[in-house]
């Protein structure tokens, strides 16, 4: 598949996924209740997914594991975790993380 087609297939498919997750109970107009276990799974899955995307991006910048101060992305990412926990501000987290990354490089 060419780059262009891949991108468009991704965009349209994600559009469907985003709509369906939002519409799943509203559109049929049902009175279905979520079981408690399902609700817990739905709570853990997004946090697990985000962490599973973030961690390799920080710790394996060139595809090889690099857990050291010499890895700018890892240092910048850890600073960003601290900033996010302390300030709860998306903007400060991003600005701080990018600043650290740029300074180390």
């Amino acid at each position: 598949m060419s780059e262009t087609w891949l991108a468009w297939t991704l965009i349209v498919g994600m559009g469907l996924v985003a709509f369906l997750t939002r519409a799943v109970f509203i559109l049929p107009g049902s009175h279905l209740k979520l079981p408690a276990t399902a609700e817990r799974v739905l709570r853990y899955a997004p946090a697990a997914a985000l962490m599973a995307i973030v961690v390799p991006d920080l710790a394996m910048p060139q595809g090889a594991l690099s857990i050291s101060i010499g890895n700018p992305k890892l240092v910048a990412g850890l600073v960003a975790f601290g900033l996010a926990a302390a300030t709860r501000s998306i903007l400060l987290t991003i600005v701080g993380g990018m600043l650290v990354l740029t300074l180390i490089r």
């Binding site: 107009g29 946090a47 697990a48 973030v54």
Partner: protein, 239 residues
């Protein structure tokens, strides 16, 4: 439109307005990150309008850069969007008397902040006849701000040189989204386990490591909540 409908629409819009402080930079980051990941400006605008889900968009971009298979990217978007399934279940009884196009529209514009406002204001069984106008008013404010901010990011992002590694803003934004999710010990354990498995399984073909990491994370979260069902507490550490 009747006066009561306009007034509910305006009330929702006003209630959502303070959230603009959050959504505007968030939309700009998504715009910049989409272009930095290699989408054309037209594709990025289309994604912003069709998907309209910042964390799912940002979560997929590192996978798009790494040339992950399509179905892995769809699965990731689905998992990151699972919170909407909960919102959908909560909102469904409020909107079930509406026409199908109305229900489709309210589903499409749903965002976290307006859901939280709405669920706080209208309890289950609330019979306010104009509550969908309130939801629409708040949602339209967020939708419009998101699209404008995203377009600003898309067109500004194209002017910024590649060496700035702006695609890293997507990862940083995900960290900022992740932290507030870590509300109790079980979620923290789920996230840490997922991070560890994602590292260990990073070389698995077809990015299956990512899905394995999510599965293990959910299993660990469930196990921790079973074994140590302590009261939820705020937990700041994340990695």
């Amino acid at each position: 439109m009747q006066r009561a409908q306009i007034s509910a629409l305006g009330e929702g819009a006003l209630a959502a307005a303070p959230q603009l402080i959050g959504i505007v930079p968030w939309g700009m980051v998504a715009g910049v990150a989409m272009v930095a990941a290699g989408l054309t400006q037209g594709q990025a605008v289309a994604m912003s309008v069709l998907v309209f889900a910042g964390s799912a968009q940002l979560a997929v971009l590192p996978l798009f850069i790494a040339k992950a298979p399509l179905w892995v990217m769809y699965a990731t978007a689905l998992v990151v969007n699972l919170r909407y399934v909960i919102y959908s279940a909560v909102l469904a009884p409020h909107f079930e008397h509406l026409s199908r196009p109305w229900r489709a529209l309210l589903s499409y514009v749903m965002v976290d902040g307006v859901f939280a406002l709405f669920a706080g204001k209208f309890r289950p069984g609330d019979a306010s006849p104009q509550k969908h106008w309130y939801f629409l008013g708040g949602s339209l404010v967020m939708w419009t701000a998101w699209q404008i901010a995203s377009c600003l990011g898309i067109f500004a992002g194209a002017l910024i040189p590649r060496e700035w590694s702006l695609e890293f803003t997507a990862t940083l934004a995900l960290i900022a989204v992740l932290i507030p999710l870590l509300l109790d010990r079980a979620v923290v354990c789920a996230a840490l386990a997922a991070g560890a498995v994602a590292l260990a399984a990073a070389k698995w073909p077809l990015n299956l490591g990512l899905l394995a990491a999510i599965a293990v994370g959910v299993a660990v979260g469930l196990a921790v909540s079973r074994l140590a069902p302590g009261k939820p507490r705020r937990e700041e550490e994340g990695g």
